[in-house]
Symmetry: D2
Subunit: 363 residues, 4 copies
């Protein structure tokens, strides 16, 4: 696997033009060294690479690492191009996937790299909500706290509680191991995955209604698609148990945010929310005053050290690609997934698929 075994120099040529991200944001020191060992790097700067230079370089490149596709149609000749790798967080909507499939160019996203850090935050939010850590701290600051068991009248333990997952992509796959020592039975709704696959992952495939009605903690992890706008409608949200906690960390696209806000303000259930319909959230949005809410400014997936997972996965798979092996760590675009993804672009130029996949329940 050592790419330098034969010739003493890297065998591949890779364009590195993350433009929306900085090089050092994506690659930790050692991964950057590995990148240069595995391939001759073209560009590799923080500023956007001039378009004409990209066009030229694509004729010789084995792969391109970018964040969204701003290069227009593929050049006529891309004889050596085997991979387009996005580090922006999803599959770029501007790309002509049909043409990529025809030419045998894989389109890959490093979105699964967000799984570990978002999953860690999701667990933290769930514990904070279940054990009322945020509300308890707030009371301590105003002197309104209640001590010991009197302060726990609405707290509950996460351990052994039924947990539901809406969407079973990379966040869910990172979250399931974190939940394992809590021994929670887990049900999952994901219409883009077969019940058999979900069973093989240790979770029970379920309808959205059942997930909502039977879980004490519901994690909303589904990426936006053309099929799942406001999937968690008011009627769905009303299925939640009175003492449930809803943790929303993928996109506000998938929920009726107004309905959720009203229900939380009415004390119907508790929420922990990292994503909002408009960001920054208007200063007068009523959710900002909800006692039953934990609010986070879209911070679950953007801890600096966590972003280096992007670069690590990219280099791991570049090692494979320059050795004419199939990649193993990044997510590969398939015709089926591309067809289902939405045109939602409120969060940048890439279609956010950092987590999966909940469409309407008839999938």
């Amino acid at each position: 696997m050592d790419p330098k075994t034969v010739s003493g120099e890297p065998r591949g040529r890779v364009i590195v033009d993350p433009w929306q991200r900085r090089i050092r944001e994506v690659f930790a020191d050692d991964d950057l060294a590995r990148l240069h060992a595995v391939a001759r790097v073209t560009w590799g700067r923080d500023e956007p690479m001039p378009l004409e230079d990209v066009s030229t370089a694509l004729r010789d490149a084995t792969a391109i690492v970018t964040a969204g596709w701003r290069y227009g149609p593929l050049p006529t000749r891309t004889d050596r191009l085997r991979a387009i790798i996005d580090v922006g967080g999803g599959f770029p909507p501007q790309l002509d996937y049909g043409e990529c499939f025809r030419r045998g160019i894989r389109v890959l996203t490093a979105a699964p790299a967000f799984g570990p850090q978002v999953a860690e935050m999701a667990l933290g939010l769930a514990l904070a909500a279940a054990r009322e850590i945020v509300r308890g701290d707030r009371a301590m600051r105003t002197g309104e706290e209640r001590w010991q068991h009197e302060g726990n009248s609405t707290s509950f333990l996460l351990s052994e509680k039924p947990v539901g997952l809406v969407g079973f992509g990379s966040i869910a796959r990172s979250l399931v191991p974190l939940l394992a020592p809590f021994r929670c039975p887990i049900s999952a709704f994901d219409p883009w995955l077969s019940p058999g696959f979900l069973r093989s992952q240790g979770v029970v495939a379920s309808t959205l209604e059942d997930v909502l009605a039977t879980s004490r903690v519901v994690f909303v992890l589904a990426a936006p698609s053309s099929e799942n706008r406001a999937l968690l409608s008011r009627a769905m949200l009303e299925l939640l148990q009175p003492d449930a906690v809803l943790v929303l960390v993928s996109r506000a696209h998938v929920i009726d945010f107004d309905a959720m806000t009203e229900l939380v303000l009415a004390g119907r259930f508790r929420v922990a929310v990292d994503v909002f319909p408009v960001e920054p959230l208007p200063i007068d949005h009523p959710i900002r005053r909800a006692d039953g809410a934990i609010l986070s400014a879209h911070r679950a997936g953007s801890v600096a050290e966590g972003l280096w997972q992007l670069g690590q996965m990219v280099v791991d798979d570049l090692e494979a690609i320059v050795a004419t092996l199939p990649p193993q760590r990044l997510q590969v675009a398939t015709p089926e997934l591309i067809a289902r993804l939405s045109g939602d672009s409120t969060n940048g130029s890439s279609r956010p698929i950092d987590d999966t996949a909940a469409g309407p329940k008839d999938g």
Copy 2:
């Protein structure tokens, strides 16, 4: 093991007088049923049992379940008494342990029952501090939040970070499995346990100085003893890394709380605190205004459903005791531990040993 196999009725007689706790607080329905199946229950009410009745009943009883010892010296004859079981949270200081050891009466505490719920809270506090969940929510409420990576400049991932434990008792033993999927290397300081035992538990025995100086997250889990007052002195606290998080969930007895408060207010490190030198904490205590602190009103160990673990462990071991078998789940008083425990009684009539054991480092 079915205590009714032979005679069709329970074989033991057990006094149940928790007085400081209510029966239903200690025993869930099914454990209460099991209790009555395993033994004839004397008293079994919420009100304190009259002292003279206790004295009489002790002559015939196999065991007594209580919360602190308010009965004075043991009666002259306790021929059948095999166990004194405390559900208050520690070993009652008023008891004559020497006499118990001589008579072969085990003194047992259900304190390990607090381990799971305190450990869950400790992890929640650690994640809330590392990912700045509480501070982030506070900012959202004042409109001062910063979004995405700008709001994460001082956040860090728990995953793979060095973790230190001060005290390795029942909380630590419940916490270690919760930390396992985060793959953190764990060091522990506990002068009441041998390095070899700690190694057998998957942690590295360490000095207190090393635990403080090398860990990103330090969990303070040591129960108070005569040896560990203000063990975490100002000098010790100054060993902490600038970006460390200290989670304090056992007792304020073990820390120089004033020094801690000053250091946190100075931005030296972050803390999450569930226990205080005086409870309720004075309204003007400066820690209440510390931005780098998460504050909780002694709520880690008093979630109602978690308290039922007390009753479950008690009945599990009563099953053994009435069958003339050694108990397996409750913590047994040993001469060594009793000799080391402190007279600290700020938290009730029982010596809190819900977690172990950190004395001075030459322990």
Copy 3:
């Protein structure tokens, strides 16, 4: 995901013609019921489907389940065909993969279904060799046994010993969790996978030489390819430690079997062997008399209940395919893998890829 939600009947049409395997061998009762719920089944019998009928049926079919490809070139029109699924144990060499890739037809193998049962056998063989269970039993039958520690002079514990894997495919991925409680450090040689991917799986990427020279137990799990004939040459085998155990469960193709036999007969190391260069093995083959060998007649992957994993995986992914979703459980043919696979066909009409992938070390 319920394929009958909309119309009340299965949406896909699937040809089921396993011919080399029987229907009931592949599908357990409940999976057969699921198969019929998810798709209208064409053929579905043990006898080979007439070729002309296959040709006709392929025009309308969504998928075909077969065991090797005996149907010649694909028909001109296969408009709905999305998957060719092999349950024979590998990728059929007779198939025109280029044409499949062009038409967007996925070729899938159920070979990973063999992983769990082969891994279980591999662990059993390793323990039997390390603890000398077979040799010990043989001695008991001739009365030559030695008791207690005298009988253990060449036995060793598997726990915490360095383990090496040659090939990291589906067997290895099933074996790693079984080894986890033994806390063995694991190195792996697989030139078809990047070092980064191997690290993400909890094993250390290594050269073949290092795997052989440093491991106490070496598991040979690599499927045959054009690149790995006699990969474990005499020179390589001589790198093994004197007290090492070699467990061979993939194919004899990858080892110099004569050299191995000589070295075992010379007492150089111990082996456990499930696969042979010729099967049935000639009655006078010297390995049959080797005291340091455990011999098994190619039985690791053919326990009946284990074969039902084939059917379970197939139906799990057919659920996805008929719902226009990408499959998740079966192994997908990629151009890179197909190019590297060997023409070895001693074990049937399918290229055995039930496990991965060890080519020459400059892979």
Copy 4:
């Protein structure tokens, strides 16, 4: 915990006289070094220490490490003696336990040190029996083997099969983690433990009848006691399923060995046996010819490197004892256990309690 912190020299004095075992058999190099660092060692040789010298030394010693008690009554004065530690494999029957309890001298056995190596062998035997590794090898040597699925007609997978444990002591506690990745539901019969304790260990408490009747693999792990001679009677053994496997690794004391032999010869079930009523087993014992048996000459607990666990545990707890702390790793004699242990001494001078505890089911 460093015993030399204060004075620069070891604080305890420990007699080390294993006589039935050699020093180097018990202690690995590093543990021997630790032993000498933690205490001044008296004797410490392979030959038995002269009795009069022991008597004298006991007056000053903190602890004695021995293998069986050959020293008669305790000397009148043992003011500093805190522990009698047996490395022979059980609790010495010659010792006056009542006197030890009165004087506050703990009697400890290192028997749990056998758990890991016996558990590993037990799993190896179970896999060898389930997958017919021994029988399969035997057939290969006579040329009577059957290939692939034809050779597996009576083989089964261990994965997910119901497993039963007779006795839940240290072997069982080491075995349960090894079984975890096989996802077997586990029931256990141990009349010396409460159902609640067993539940807390992740197994279901069960009657002996149910364990035998419902398990595919039964592990017999109970140490002999006065209560469990031939506990597995003919009637009990006849409850086993026709295709069950019985793994016997504790003592033949607990089974009707003749009945077992007849039933195995009749093909009623399969066994793997490491312990026998008489050792060495008579050359003409019929079990030696049973095709359905795997036979091992009492080798499960006597691998040299495994015995070093004895010394490691001993030193770990001596570290505690010389620091006036309670031991944590060795098993402590309790009045209840001592009262129940048998006088069985076929295996040496120590009562073998290396595993627990199955008495008659009315326990």
